[in-house]
Symmetry: C2
Subunit: 248 residues, 2 copies
């Protein structure tokens, strides 16, 4: 049952980024929220930086959620807080909460955190252009070893049902949807190969099922959905070039 306090998401403008994982819960639940990323870009940046400078409590990075007197950071944590309130997870403290949180933390590792490392493997604070050879090497390891491992994990979870946990849609499914969507933007040739392998059919079926849910579909078709650009999920064609790998 949605709370009556307003939900306020504080996030960088102009990219889907980690904020997107949170937006999808609000959109699927049909719950109103304010999103600082959607105002004028300067104001949106100021909303993030002024909150980070505020230090009550100290928070290291967005996304940040404000709800009543609660201010939280860390994507997995914000999702943990929101999901039961939005009808997308069992009540806090139920064993199911921990099972879902374990799944979500694993999906975030595989389809968000490790994707970011592919283009920023050695200098997080520096430009991609300063670490291109390292990014190629990390991307190769990601495409060949890590991505299949995480896809196989999700596929394994789906052998017993249509959804990742508990027999019905949960926030974990929305996280997997966004992970697949972002990875498909970043590594389109690789993800096509993964899909065509038929090894992860239930993962791609779930992706399509989420995409077709009425509220998600309406959201994706709206201007509220920011296009991909230079956030977590970036498309650098050189990071999935295959030629030289075949020689190795």
């Amino acid at each position: 049952m949605p709370s009556s306090s307003e939900y306020r998401l504080i996030y960088w403008p102009g990219i889907p980024g980690r904020g997107e994982l949170i937006r999808l819960l609000f959109e699927e639940a049909g719950v109103a929220y304010t999103d600082t990323a959607k105002g004028p870009p300067d104001d949106a940046v100021a909303a993030v930086t002024s909150r980070l400078d505020d230090n009550t409590p100290p928070l290291l990075a967005p996304p940040i959620l404000q709800h009543g007197s609660v201010t939280l950071s860390q994507t997995a944590n914000i999702l943990l807080y929101l999901a039961p309130r939005l009808g997308l997870a069992p009540a806090a403290g139920d064993d199911g909460m921990y099972h879902l949180n374990g799944i979500v933390l694993t999906l975030l590792d595989g389809f968000v955190n490790e994707v970011h490392e592919t283009h920023h493997p050695v200098a997080t604070m520096d430009y991609y252009e300063s670490q291109k050879p390292e990014a190629r090497r990390r991307s190769k390891a990601y495409r060949q070893e890590r991505l299949p491992k995480f896809l196989a994990y999700a596929q394994e979870l789906l052998t017993t049902g249509d959804w990742l946990y508990g027999g019905e849609l949960s926030y974990a499914d929305l996280v997997l949807f966004q992970g697949i969507d972002g990875s498909s933007y970043a590594f389109p040739k690789t993800m096509k190969k993964m899909k065509d392998s038929n090894r992860y059919n239930d993962v791609f079926r779930l992706y399509e099922a989420v995409k077709q849910r009425p509220r998600i579909k309406a959201y994706l078709d709206s201007r509220r959905r920011a296009p991909y650009s230079t956030g977590i999920w970036r498309h650098y064609p050189e990071l999935e070039e295959e030629e030289e790998e075949e020689e190795e």
Copy 2:
């Protein structure tokens, strides 16, 4: 109040690793637990691999906690489950749970996950020796930019009290203790410099306060505490060499 079911930690033998973050909660609480890492090494490895192969439910990596009918993975998630049961966090669902979880996820990023990246920046599944130049670059960024950022975050949390949250010891303090201890093993010269800067005095004070707690002290002095070697926290002197940096 500890539950009557047995707690069973499944983790790799021979290293502190992520399992250590979980052990510290049991040790501080004085609660009995079995630890597969402590048997014969072959059996300990088999305990991990057989559990990962089991797939009920699918789990991608240790640490794994078994407690009654619950089987969980992901360090932050296991801590979230254990801490209220061991008297080291507010009850599940309290706002305090989310505040603590946000702090713990941030500390794990800064003092565990990013430390692992320093020696494995481009090929997670491969040897350190195959990625030494990249590791030097990542380590430099870690020591100069990331580590001070996370230390400043923890210091900021400690300006309002002796402990990270809620005015008393919580599991977040144990996580920070282990993070500082591990980072001090991996980067001794850097951490000495950080300590001597007097910018993070409350962090190092908390570190000492945790270390002197009777049950933690007894544990650290016991053979149950594995020495550091080749896990998350590794000491490669070349990863904190200063000379060439001063020329840049």
